[in-house]
Structures are given as C-alpha cells and as structure tokens.
Symmetry: none
Subunit: 400 residues, 2 copies
C-alpha cells in the first residue's frame, strides 16, 4: 500500500502541535579543523535537545542522489520525491511568489541572443541586468493568446517566468533550449496528444515574442524550459487532517508549502522574525514548517564561517520555539550543502526527533558524526511525517 493512502486512512485529528525545523542545506563536510559546519558551530541548545531526543541520519531521496530544492522539500513533507516531480517552471513561479492555480502552465524563460539565421549565439543574452529584463518582460505582456490568460514576470537578469492560464491547457511539453549554441531554438512539442493544442499556443507566443524583440541588441530571442502544470499532489491538510503553517523568508519555500496545503504566514527576513511569526500563529495551526535559508546560501558560497554563524543564530532562537511547548519537534535539513562543494550534495542529513514518547539515545551533540550512532539509524526524508504524526498521537492502529 502506498504511504499516502496509509496516512490518509490512519490519521486522526489531535491536540499535540508539531514543529518541523528545516535548516536548508545544513549537512556539511569537514572544514579546516576536521569538523563539519554543524559540528564546528557552538550549539548548546541544539545539543541539549539532542540529549533528550532520538537522533539519526536521513537520506533525502536515495543514496547518492543530490536533490534540488523541490525534491528535498517534497520528501520532508512525506511525498516520494521521484514520484511527485515539480517542474522547473513551477518552482521558478513559486520562487517569485506567483500564486499558481491548478489550470496554469508555468515555464522558466531564458532570454537569448540569436544571429540573423536564427541560430543561438548566447543562451543567456549576455546576462543582461534585471532592469533590462523588466523592460523586455513589459513588452512581452502585450502578447495575447486566444482563450488563455498570460502572465510574464521577471525573475533575475536574463530569467523570466511565463504562465498560461486556461481551462484547456495540458502539460506533457518539450523544452525549446537545445543546450548549445550555433543551432536555432527548438519548437515546443507535445509528448502526448492532449497537449498538442497547448504546444501550438506556446509556439504562437514564442513567435510573437521573438518578433517583438527582433530589434533588441542582446535579448532578441528566448528559450522556455520545464514547461509544466502544478502536479496534482494531494494536500497535506487533507491527508493528515492538519492545519499547517509555513514560515519561510524565501518565496520558493513558501510556494512549495502553499502547493502542499499549508497556510503561508507573513514573516520578516531574519530567524528572529520567523520565531516571532511562530509565536503569533501558535494557536492557529497544528503543524509548522519552519525554514532557515541562509545555511544553504553560505554553503553555496563556500563560506564555512558564515554557515557556522547561521547555525549558531538558529541555536540561539531554539529555546523560544521550545518555550511554546510543542508536542513534537523534528530538526533536520532538506539536503546537504557542504561548504567545500559549494553546491547541494547527496550526503545524509542529521536528524533529531523529540517528543514525550521517544526512546532517548546516547547522542548528546547534534552533528553528522554523532548522529551516525543515533537510535533512529538511517531513515529517509519521507519517514519524517509518519514518525512525527505517530509521536503526536495522530495515527490510528493499522489492522485489528
């Protein structure tokens, strides 16, 4: 039986509140002193919680697989990441706080430079500045398609989002980017017959867009990637019979939360303001997704010290979260972002689970190496939700 079906069958309402803390990209690799970012950080509060918790290591997708932000989070929320894929276009739209509906098709757009024959010279249009992108997007807004609403939004530099909204839109569409220069962009093609009409509409949009920008010195063409609908993902609030709140400083994480049935809670730019938001909404929801972004950002920068500092900043905020008296707390990350790789990685994530009903293990320090000996052993991100629900007393017995 499928895990979501099982969860839907067994979950019951309850009173115990749950907090899922996601330090984005928290998992690391040894630094100058042989310690990882998390191990090097001074974290008395995380360590004290670890001493009362059961700990372990978790694989986001499968051994050796490096997840993007989409699969990393989808797994944390109890969905098998290889089963529920979120298109690049959808993630890009969520990343600019665009409120995608179930009938929307979203694509990531990249402005490009083509020569007179229409062959690509530069797939990023000379990395034009964002203001330039804004001006171009403004021009593209005049394109009207029959029976369909279109939205064009700048993301950053040469990147934009195109959203088509209409009842009859279908996905199953190829990308236009040939991934090399010297050849023209590809037409959008339908990979299933139902999507043919949509492919035609998008090709029509592309034709008009290229005509409109033909006189541009750099961005005289564009490619569309990851053209997809929001997947028909069952909502967490329905599966688990929960009211869920998402607290995140970056739009993409708020967007993924909204996608899976969470209420997005207005918050500020700092961990401190996120804790304030948690306090304000404590009585409104059963489950809180609490996202810390900058661990990942500094990991991507290769900045060991700054990543350590963000972890320490969260550590200082932890007591205020615990003072709210949650019934279940799980602390982990969506994926590792080791400073030495400057990118997401496949490495397991340390995880700790606290509730009144855990068997505390011998681990007293929250770090990658200590957690290797933790009582949870090696689990997977998709196990987090069932474990949290069980410890919250919100799952019935399976079978008589």
């Amino acid at each position: 039986m499928d895990q979501l079906t099982l969860m839907r069958d067994l979950s019951v309402p309850g009173k115990s509140k749950m907090v899922l803390v996601v330090m984005d990209g928290v998992g690391g690799l040894p630094g100058p002193d042989g310690l990882t970012e998390l191990e090097a950080a001074h974290t008395p509060n995380l360590d004290a919680l670890a001493a009362r918790s059961i700990t372990g290591l978790s694989t986001p997708v499968r051994p050796g697989i490096t997840p993007g932000s989409g699969p990393g989070h989808i797994g944390l929320f109890g969905y098998e990441p290889t089963e529920w894929e979120i298109g690049r276009g959808v993630l890009e739209a969520l990343g600019i706080d665009f409120d995608l509906g179930p009938n929307d098709i979203a694509a990531r757009g990249n402005f490009a430079t083509v020569d007179e024959a229409g062959n690509i010279l530069d797939r990023r249009a000379g990395r034009i500045p964002t203001e330039e992108g804004e001006r171009l997007v403004e021009r593209l807004r005049q394109i009207a398609l029959p029976g369909v609403e279109t939205f064009v939004r700048v993301v950053k530099e040469y990147r934009f989002v195109l959203v088509l909204r209409g009842e009859k839109l279908e996905d199953g569409l190829t990308e236009t980017d040939p991934q090399r220069t010297g050849v023209p962009p590809l037409p959008v093609e339908a990979t299933r017959p139902e999507a043919e009409e949509t492919a035609e509409l998008i090709n029509q949009w592309l034709e008009e867009a290229r005509e409109l920008l033909a006189d541009e010195p750099k961005a005289n063409s564009m490619n569309l990637r990851g053209i997809a609908k929001v997947p028909p993902i069952p909502k967490m609030n329905e599966i688990y019979k929960l009211s869920l709140g998402a607290i995140a400083t970056y739009p993409m994480y708020r967007g993924i939360g909204r996608l899976v049935g969470m209420s997005v809670l207005q918050t500020g730019e700092t961990i401190e303001s996120e804790v304030e938001t948690l306090k304000q909404h404590w009585s409104d929801h059963d489950f809180f997704f609490f996202h810390v972004k900058k661990t990942d950002s500094y990991g991507e920068d290769g900045n060991f010290e700054a990543k350590v500092h963000v972890i320490e900043e969260f550590d200082s905020a932890l007591p205020a979260i615990l003072e709210l008296n949650p019934g279940v707390v799980l602390v982990s990350g969506d994926h590792s972002t080791p400073w030495s790789l400057k990118s997401h990685s496949w490495h397991e994530l340390p995880v700790m689970l606290w509730s009144d009903h855990i068997r505390p293990d011998a681990v007293t320090v929250f770090g990658e190496r200590p957690c290797m000996g933790g009582g949870l052993g090696h689990i997977r991100h998709v196990d987090f939700l069932p474990l949290m629900m069980a410890h919250a007393g919100r799952l019935m017995k399976f079978g008589a």
Copy 2:
C-alpha cells in the same frame, strides 16, 4: 521479485531447527528509572544469549505505523503486512479458536440497542454480560440461509462472531456499523459485483436476527464489522518447505499460526507449560513459533512492574529452550506496547538472532537502547524469516 517468490524458489529442506520467540508487545519506553521494561528486567539468560548473538532493532510495518496483532504477526511470518490484510471478522473468529475454511466469510458482531424507529441508541447494547450474549447467540442459531451453513459464536459480552460457509460466498462487503448513534444500522453492500449475492444473504440474516431479538430489552439489534474471507495467503510450510508448530496460550495467535500453515500444538496457560510443549514436540517440526502473551497484556494495563516480571519469567525459561539445541533462535516481539502508552505503538522492537553462523556484535544486554548499536542495524519484521532460513542453511544461492 517478490520476497515470497524468492523464498519459494530458494528454500530447501534441512536439519537445523528454528525457534522464533515472540514476546508480544515487548518493546517499551523509559519507566521510573529511565529504563524500559526490558531494560529494567533482570535477564541474565537473555543477556548471555545477546552476547553470543547479533542484535538490532526492527520495524513491524513501516516507520510510525502502529500494527494491530494481525499485521504484527503476519510481518514476523515473512508476509508484507500492508499486502496481506486480515479482516477483523477473521481475527475475531481465530480468537475463539474457530477453524475457518477458505470458503468461509467471518464477521465480528456487536449487539446493539435501537429505538422504535430503528435508530441506534447504544452501539454496545449496554455491555451485556457474556452469559446474556450466549443466550442471544443461541436464539440466532435457528436462522437458516439457503445453500449456506451459518455459525454464531459468542466472544465476550456484547461481541459475537458470525461465520457463513458456502462455495459461492465472496467478500468485498461493507460494514453495517455507522459508528454513531441516532441513525439506523447500514445495510451490507457489495464493493464488487461478485459479492452482491453474499451481501443479500447477510442482509437477510440480519433482518431475521433483528426480528428474533425485537423483544429484547437491550440487545434488540446488532452490527456486523470486518466481514471478510480468510485471505488466500500462501502457506509457510509450502513456501519454506518446513513443518511448523505454533505454541501460544491465546487462541488468536494459534489461529494466525494455523492460517499460515502451522500445526497448532496443545499447550497450557503458562510459559512453563509452553516450554513443556516445545520439548514434547521437538522432534515433530522444523520451526517453532513460541508466543508469550502477557508482556502485551501488562503493557496495555500500564503495569510496568508486571510486564518486567513476565519478561523475567521468560528469561528463566530460556535455558530449557536452548538445551534442546536449536540451530537458529530469534527473539523479538510483534510490536511495542509501552507501559506509558497503554497501547500498541509504532516503536521498533529489539531483536536478537543466534546461530553458529552469525557475526556476534558488541551488544551484551538485550534491551532497546543496547540494540540501537547492534550489528543487524535497523531491519524489518519481514526480514526475520529469510535471515532465520539462511542461518539454518535452508536457502540456496540466488543466481549462478
């Protein structure tokens, strides 16, 4: 490839005898001194065996899932619990030692009180005493259905079992219990066309039963739940080419054993008498399922001390089992029943496996926390049978 297919293909007869000890609900949570029931118990014999064994922790179904007795045991016997579900009616019939056949449909019956309009006033008929139930069941035995044999047996208080026996009976039937008062019982409905005739027969039985009991002050109606056939589960004796004996003091566990192809061995009420039974039948079978019930019962009562005492009682009996010179011994439980939760739980079970061919780990105490560091790591109940068979030298090589 499916595990059962693999086992069927690879298993060969052999001489080494296997004992699977199931301390029902043995897994626990920390008690007054921070130790679990098993950790607090004085168990020199279990600990000595652990020191010679490989140990670990096992998940009965999946992380976070609390199994009923059916799924807990089915997993121990090597069947994927979410794939082979045993209906509530079947378990209830097994629980009164009723010998269900492959063409039987079993239902759990609950006597209920209804008002003049037929709406339910009490779903348990005022919890009438068992003797009262016996008298009512006697009256219901006069109902005859065309082409079908019927059996009605009292279980306890307001609970009874209805079994229909006939060649053309089909399951895929809904329950009649609306799970609330103020409304009438529901009719039985077929969830697939083949079951329509069976649904009609059961509705006919219900109509006559309610007429017969119309003058009863309390139990003037009834509901049927978990109306199902024995699942067409492949038998362990055929899959593993074994002769298996089941030793259990409670009928339900004997019944599950019989269901999967074990011979039920007559035994007494105590662990001591179960060991006597094992001795008497030692030469008759290859594999023994040895079930200790009271660990679970005291866990359900929330009685820490009494659960500790049952574990110590089993510990005293262990040497007599080992003196029989088994080739493989596995000690674990079907699920946890922590004293502090007073119910089954999702927590992993400690497990130890002994044979001449194991790699002993460093664990010298049989308990939840010591087993966190065991050499088996974290396994699943369905892994027990393949591991026991392998250590008994009863599995051929897979592939050339």
